[in-house]
Amino acid sequence: MADHLAPGEHDDAPLATAKQADRREQAANGLDEAKGDAVSGKTVTINRPRQEIYDFWRDVTNLPKVMENLVSVDAVDGQRSRWVVKAPGGGTVEWISVITEDRPGELIAWASEEGAEVPNSGRIEFRDAPGGRGTWVSATILYDPPAGFIGKVIAKMFQREPAIQARRDLRRLKQFLETGEIATAARNRRQYEEEQN
């Protein structure tokens, strides 16, 4: 956030909310290894301490709990993990994701390894929310929308629009960390399973 506005400068609003497309695109420049060009940024307030949320996200095996369409994420080593994503028609697609920046309690950035069918990258940031309201969690996700079958995988993973998926995944993260569960209207387990597919 700017300390003050010099003449000709913009405002304090996040770039992802800019009216001009070229300013919106600058939001992606913050990513060290930007892969892809469809960007989405969203912030949610979570009523938990910064470090706790960082720790949850840093243990990448937790991610399928909150991200729809992620089947599993397994750590390959300290920096690399294997992401398995549901594909239309019942199959799966996978890639290796590498952590490109890691500042404990503050920020995690990742990017898919060279050769991934779906180049993608993202960053999640944790900041103390003002007024003791917990933590501001901001996610920025970039991907290269490919054509064909893999395009459908990605369309499913990010639903219609990555912004919608990022927003919903952040809400699920918030629900899980604040309440210990993810809200569902399913009346029984069979309905719940159906909704997961």
């Binding site: 009523n47 919903r168 993810i182 209207a185 009346r187 309905q191």
Partner: protein, 397 residues
């Protein structure tokens, strides 16, 4: 199990559907012993509320016995509980401020997208009240799944009859919060539009909070009669002109606080005779947000307007000028039920508040569709219908 399901305008049916089960750790399953039809349910019956789907189970005022619990529930099997109509997590920022109906986490993540563009932020979940409020199955059924059962339901001591405590689920706290939002001061005159359950509990609560006079407005003689029993003066808007009557009854000052307990189905056809003159200059029409407009115009300068009544979307010709010039305060909202339940249960146990006067009909769940039709068509006689799943099928009492 058997449950009352929605199929379209004026088409509700009791059908056999899948039983509910524990899905999340904090869930409980309640076997319903009493469940009421609410004025808000009539908005669904009249198909005013979007995002209802065929087969949705209705009902948000219910109580019963705990028959199953998840590992995160604090309830015990066999306990009798009343369940709040708002589904709130108890641990988000809003819940920690006791603004339970503004809970961040009550709605499934995907459903939050429906309310966001209309309201700016998504609200709490509600039982049996369309997919905009979460798509949760309601309690006009034999069983119901209750999320966050460690936060919402209140345990009822043995030996206290269902009929005395059932309304803790919604309308009693709603009437109470409406009176609290009116910020009543000693010596105040409070006007209440609508003598349905919410209005009647607001009348009762206003007196308990120290109002000197309460003026109740409706057109159903039987409902006005109930308000009179609590000590209210009455205006029958079919016989008298509401604004003129209120001004005469308050020495030209207007009521200190005005409570709108009518809402989006305000019966509007009478409006002309009261409003002819004002209408010409302010373009006010006769559409359905009549009672809140009238409350704002009648309210004394610097007074308070409390609006428990439900409005869904946008309102036309809102008298913003009168509101601003007179320096009024408006307080409203879905009720923060969890906040009010413990205090009001005590008030019931100490016989300070009576709720049973309201119940005009008790019938088995199997006759629920008939109950909806009666409640819709005969509002003078029918003040509140309580459905009892266990009750023998007999002519309505």
């Amino acid at each position: 199990m058997r449950a009352l399901t929605w199929h379209g305008k004026h088409d509700v049916r009791v059908e056999t559907v899948d039983d509910p089960e524990i899905v999340n750790p904090r869930d409980a399953i309640i076997k319903i012993t009493s469940t009421a039809i609410c004025g808000s349910d009539l908005h669904l019956y009249d198909a005013y509320i979007p995002t209802l789907q065929k087969g949705d189970i209705l009902g948000h005022e219910f109580m019963g016995e705990v028959v199953d619990i998840g590992p995160g529930s604090t309830l015990k099997k066999g306990q009798r509980v009343v369940v709040p109509f708002t589904i709130s997590c108890g641990s988000c920022f809003h819940c920690s401020k006791h603004q339970y109906s503004a809970c961040d986490n009550g709605l499934p993540a995907d459903n939050q997208d429906i309310a966001q563009p209309i309201y700016g932020q998504p609200m709490a979940g509600l039982f049996g009240y369309s997919h905009m409020t979460g798509g949760y199955a309601g309690g006009q059924a034999e069983y119901v799944r209750v999320p966050f059962s460690d936060v919402g339901p209140i345990v009822i001591p043995d030996g206290v009859d269902d009929d005395k405590v059932l309304f803790l689920s919604d309308i009693l706290p709603t009437g109470w919060m409406a009176a609290e939002n009116a910020e009543i001061e000693p010596g105040d005159t409070v006007a209440v539009w609508g003598c349905g359950p919410v209005g009647l509990f607001a009348v009762q609560s206003a007196f308990l909070m120290g109002a000197e006079r309460v003026i109740a407005i409706d057109h159903f003689p039987r409902r006005l009669e109930l308000a009179k029993r609590f000590g209210a003066e009455t205006i029958n808007y079919e016989e008298s002109r509401t604004y003129e009557a209120l001004m005469e009854m308050t020495g030209g000052i207007g009521p200190d606080a005005c409570i709108d307990a009518v809402g989006l189905e305000a019966h509007g056809f009478f409006a002309d005779n009261v409003w002819d003159q004002i209408k010409v200059s302010t373009f006010m029409g006769t559409d359905r947000a009549h009672s809140i407009r009238q409350a704002i115009i009648a309210c004394r300068k610097g007074g308070r307007v409390s609006m428990p009544a439900v409005y869904g979307g946008f309102v036309d010709k809102f008298p913003l000028g009168a509101f601003m010039e007179k320096g009024l305060t408006l307080k409203t909202g879905q009720t923060h039920v969890q906040h009010y339940m413990p205090g009001l249960l005590n008030a019931i146990m100490e016989d300070k508040v009576d709720t049973t006067f309201l119940i005009s009909h008790r019938m088995p769940l199997e006759q629920a569709a008939e109950g909806y039709k009666m409640f819709h068509d005969q509002q003078n006689e029918v003040t509140k219908i309580v459905l009892k799943p266990g009750m023998d099928q007999a002519p309505a009492a």
